[in-house]
């Protein structure tokens, strides 16, 4: 799984690192720092939860590691 982070959209809500502290961290502005480019399998659920709760949709996760992988939207389906 890969994480795409749109830094210009981040305004520091801090939902990502509150919900997934092992995947995301805060800089001194309270903006997001993504700790991994490729997420270890055991942290995928965290990575997904953090992205799904960013009110600015600054984060998206993409399943799989290489090209052609299905892009998984972090948006809710309901």
């Amino acid at each position: 799984m890969k994480i795409h982070f749109e830094a210009s959209a981040c305004v520091g809500h801090g939902r990502c690192y509150a919900l997934a502290p092992e995947v995301y961290d805060a800089d001194d502005q309270g903006h997001c720092i993504v700790k991994f480019e490729v997420v270890p399998p055991e942290l995928e659920a965290q990575a997904r939860a953090g992205a799904a709760n960013c009110p600015e949709a600054a984060l998206a996760v993409e399943d799989g590691l290489s090209g052609g992988a299905r892009a998984a939207s972090a948006r809710p389906s309901g």
Binding site: A9, V11, G12, H13, G14, R15, Y17, A18, A26, D28, Q29, G30, A49, A52, N53, C54, P55, E56, A57, A74, R75, P76, S77, G78
Partner: protein, 411 residues
């Protein structure tokens, strides 16, 4: 709930969110807005005050300050100059946030947690033995206000004065709809606030401490310090944000949990649910129902033309309960929700500066309250009056099983 006359009139496309009956139970109102009138016009205003309610539209408005500006024209609340940073649009806005955000970031305020926890328990001790309280007056007001005073180093003795000021500005005590009287109260209050701030700024310049105001006064703004006027413009907003919004959120949350015991029990049994519950309570109740913007570039939404100078009421509460975003459970408290991208703290560049502090206060309050008083109900016969705009409850009488004070238990 039925409104008489209706708060939304789909034929005339008029709506009025500033009614106590709407504030008490806004879900039906929000629903009607989103489905029948996605761009409504403020009732009684000839034209040019638009109400935006759908999640996607609210998101767009929050993220496009070049179209929907929050500059000083958007809200006139007795201030002389734009409030900083809210009424400064990007790009100028970012430099202030770069100075201010680090003072109120989640890591920077983490040290407040143990004192905040102790404070909640002190406050609970004042009424737990009685088996009843007015939760608004005895908890929701003193708790966040004390945290705010500790953080800013402002004197506790002046609290009454601050509370009067913020009420004069947010909900001036004038006949409903008398906007001119309301503005007069706000201007007089603004004068008193600026005058008071002069003394505070003088003091912090001479005797800097560890408090947040000292840090703002001495902080670096692109190679210079803030001017006195700039600091006053920061403090004006600080008093309003710091002293009102957490109070309203606690009122709405505790009233809801008192009336929905199964949700309360779940939190008592498993306190690890509290952070998610805080997000859901924020979303479902969105105590700051709306934020104001002013149109800077002509824009069309759902066939309605918005012209430069038009005012826009961005109905955060309606967005936060939109089934298009939150699914069929949008109107319920659903603590297990996977994705909760609510805008209770706004969004886009003007995202609430105090959101991390507010979340800390709310989490600690719910954890400690439920540990000490697991079971409570709204006193029989009590009528809850929710104030429109920012939904505080004027009086929230609760009853519960009396319990021991901590001090008493320890000695």
């Amino acid at each position: 709930m039925t409104y008489a006359p209706p708060a939304v009139n789909p034929d005339s496309r008029e709506a009025n969110p500033y009614r106590p009956d709407v504030a008490a139970d806004p879900l039906a109102f929000y629903d009607q807005l989103r489905t029948q009138c996605p761009i409504a016009n403020m009732e009684g205003v000839p034209s040019g005050t638009h109400i935006i309610s759908r999640y996607e539209d609210v998101k767009f408005a929050l993220r496009h300050p070049e179209i929907f500006s929050s500059d000083v024209v958007a809200v006139d609340i007795g201030q002389d100059r734009p409030l900083i940073p809210l009424q400064i649009d990007p790009p100028g806005h970012a430099k202030y946030r770069r100075l201010m955000d680090p003072q109120l970031g989640p890591k920077e305020i983490a040290y407040l947690e143990s004192d905040t926890r102790a404070l909640v328990n002190d406050i609970v001790d004042r009424f737990i033995g009685r088996g009843s309280c007015d939760f608004h007056a005895e908890f929701s007001v003193p708790f966040p206000c004390t945290v705010f005073l500790q953080l800013t180093g402002l004197p506790l003795d002046d609290l009454e004065r601050f509370l009067t000021w913020k009420d004069n500005i947010i909900r001036p005590d004038v006949p409903l709809g008398d906007t001119q009287a309301a503005q007069e109260v706000r201007y007089a209050t603004g004068r008193a606030m600026y005058e008071y701030f002069e003394g505070v700024i003088e003091d912090r310049l001479a005797n800097p401490g560890e408090d947040v105001i000292s840090r703002f006064v001495h902080g670096d703004l692109e190679g210079r310090t803030l001017s006195r006027e700039e600091i006053a413009d920061v403090l004006y907003l600080f008093i309003l944000g710091g002293l009102d919004t957490v109070t309203s959120t606690l009122d709405c949350s505790i009233a809801y949990l008192a009336q929905n015991p199964s949700h309360r029990r779940a939190l008592v049994e498993d306190p690890t649910l509290v952070p998610a519950a805080v997000e859901e309570l924020l979303r479902l109740h969105t105590p700051v129902m709306q934020v104001m913007r002013v149109v800077k570039q002509e824009h069309e939404m759902h066939g309605v033309r918005m012209l430069p100078g038009d005012h826009v009421i961005v109905m955060l509460g309606a967005a936060d309960t939109d089934p298009e975003e939150f699914g069929q459970t949008a109107g319920d408290l659903h603590v297990g929700r996977d994705a909760n991208r609510h805008f209770a703290f706004g969004g886009g560049p003007h995202r609430c500066l105090g959101s991390h502090l507010a979340r800390l206060e709310l989490r600690v309050a719910l954890e400690e309250l439920h540990r000490r008083i697991p079971d409570y109900a709204v006193a029989e016969g009590a009528e809850l009056y929710y104030s429109p705009g920012i939904r505080e409850i004027a009086s929230l009488p609760l009853v519960f099983e009396p319990g021991p004070t901590l001090v008493g238990a320890a000695s």
